[in-house]
């Protein structure tokens, strides 16, 4: 699906949190995962800026590990604050999607 970018903007951070929450991972793998999910327009630069923000807000724990080739890779895992943030994200998402579904069904 094209042109999802604008709609996705507010939720991408939550998506990245969810991906990191399921296992410790790194930028490229997160981008790949989002692309596989069908978010083809998501590029690594976008994910990178989100990861910086998560790091700055103290939601992730960062570990540098040597990679097979090239520079060491930064791996991200959620800390307690990150897990709390993720729970908040899903609560907000539930709320938002239930309201929008309601609107679509014409209810009040």
């Amino acid at each position: 699906m094209d042109d999802l970018t604008e709609m996705l903007k507010g939720t991408l951070e939550g998506c990245v949190l969810e991906i990191i929450g399921s296992e410790e991972t790194y930028g490229y793998a997160i981008t790949r995962r989002l692309n596989e999910l069908g978010f083809a327009g998501v590029i690594e630069g976008t994910v990178y800026t989100i990861l910086l923000r998560l790091e700055k807000n103290g939601l992730v724990q960062v570990t540098k590990r040597p990679s097979g080739l090239g520079p060491p890779r930064k791996f991200y895992a959620l800390n307690d604050a990150g897990r709390a943030e993720l729970a908040t994200f899903w609560a907000k998402w539930e709320y938002l999607s239930s309201r929008i579904d309601k609107l679509k069904e014409g209810g009040r």
Partner: protein, 118 residues
């Protein structure tokens, strides 16, 4: 950073040199993106540009990582390098000159309003 470095910025010069050495090792299109990133990020610099150093280091790191994975620059940064740089600088808390002008304007207006007729 010691006193001498604070005054002369000699550590910045040194850091720039290591950045450029790292950038020289990148493939051509990544190197071109690096040049463009520098141009965009400079407008977010403070007087010495010291605030940009960690941001540039991170951006260069991203280019290095993605180059070693064989990704093209377009796959990594898309068409909007300016937007990427803005997000980057925003995430790291660097403010650009426009933010500073706004702040100055707000301050001046508040001062004028605080002292009517002044």
């Amino acid at each position: 950073m010691n006193f001498w470095e604070t005054i002369t910025g000699s550590d910045l010069t040194r850091e720039w040199k290591t950045f450029e050495a790292r950038a020289a090792a990148l493939p051509a299109d990544h190197r071109a993106a690096w040049e463009e990133i520098k141009v965009h990020l400079l407008s977010y610099g403070d007087f010495t540009g010291r605030n940009l150093m960690p941001i540039l280091d991170g951006a260069l790191g991203l280019l290095e990582e993605t180059a070693s994975e064989g990704q093209s620059v377009h796959e990594v940064l898309g068409d909007d390098i300016g937007g990427f740089c803005a997000a980057l600088a925003g995430g790291e808390g660097a403010r650009n000159y426009r933010d500073r002008w706004r702040e100055q304007l707000n301050r001046n207006v508040a001062r004028k309003l605080g002292r009517p007729g002044g």
